[in-house]
Assembly symmetry: C2
Homo-oligomer: 204 residues x 2
DNA sequence: CTCTGTGAAACACTTCACAGCG
DNA sequence: CGCTGTGAAGTGTTTCACAGAG
């Protein structure tokens, strides 16, 4: 029963968001399933990885469940995040309001452009990339978001690895081959559009 | 052997990117595998869904393979894309240079803010959301990217569906429940960070 | 009687290992 | 020989269906 499947981890995060849209002290697997669009059996199986959280005949206690999921996802206290690359995308991400309310705090942006370094974006400082490793090691952030051009991405990834960062969200359009010690999630716009293109073609 | 697995479709898009980094007229499953970080057997299995494309003892013809993948992904001619929401993120996406070279053309951004409508971002016009359906129906775009606030997302999705758009990439932090006629890929920053948080916790 | 938790079956996807083609 | 294409085995994930708790 140990070792939560990767697919389940991804859904737990969705259930967490979904809980916000549900009313009532207790909720059933059925109602969660309806909100996130999966089967009720799937929800029960997923939640069973957290141990017995529900009450038979009644459902799950909403608040208790929220905490249990957050604990399992490591969302205790505030998690520090760094944004590497202060270009268009980096700045847009810095302006995204959802971090704070989800328990994430952006510590800083990093760039190598001297005309940007020292400035601020959405209230966040832009620091030089060379200072990143020290900030990482002193625990200012635990997760990094790569928002650089493609050419810079693998270099940045190597530096992050060296600085002991294990979790990376990559927005650069590059195929990154992370060391096994790292967990990298790629969000490549081209790839996503290409996948959508396939499903468009195969829907008529 | 028909019906390409979803997982394979996602990798085909990656192989396509990976081909750019490989030299030579012919390439082996081994070399593709090395570039995108999967097993060679996986690559061969995936490519076999395209029919017999390789030559035993030699490998795959790079140019031929690229075309075969593009054809399968529906990347024939140029595919039109719309960006809904001309805020921070929408503007950042509009400035992303990778669309053109991958065969996608952004037709327009859409917004409801009258101070934005009529303006331009990165050379692209911002049109009123109310004109979107007509543009969709006249074939100006086939894929839409939602870059609105969370509250607006499901309303936009409904409008897109009504306008006959089947393929949507959603950047709004909302759990969207698409009709079965649509294929929606969600890129939710919070969800991604929460998943990364889990793997960070479970790596020490 | 309702709704959870879970064996067991079904399904989906990946990897192995090798026959066979060029 | 080298490298593809693919049965067969293995692994991971989802769904069914129901026992059992409240």
């Amino acid at each position: 029963m140990r070792a939560i499947p990767r697919a389940t981890v991804a859904r737990l995060a969705q259930y967490l968001q979904g809980l916000d849209q549900l009313e009532g002290r207790t909720i059933s697997s059925q109602s969660i399933a309806a909100v996130v669009g999966v089967g009720a059996a799937q929800v029960r199986r997923d939640l069973s990885y957290l141990g017995h959280q529900g009450v038979r005949g009644v459902g799950y206690d909403a608040e208790h469940l929220r905490r249990a999921i957050m604990r399992e996802l490591g969302l205790v206290g505030t998690v520090g995040v760094a944004i590497v690359g202060a270009g268009n995308l980096g700045q847009a991400l810095a302006g995204y309001g959802g971090f704070q309310e989800r328990g994430f705090t952006v510590f800083s942006l990093y760039d190598i452009d001297h005309s940007k370094v020292g400035g601020r974006v959405s209230g966040l400082p832009i620091r030089h990339l060379d200072t990143m490793a020290a900030d990482a090691r002193s625990g200012r952030f635990a997760i990094a978001i790569i928002a650089t051009p493609a050419e810079a991405a693998s270099e940045v990834l190597a530096r992050l690895n060296e600085a002991g960062i294990r979790s990376v969200l990559n927005f650069a359009p590059a195929v990154l081959r992370p060391p096994t010690s790292m967990e990298v999630r790629n969000v490549d716009l081209s790839t996503e559009l290409q996948i959508l293109s396939f499903y468009r073609k195969h829907s008529r």
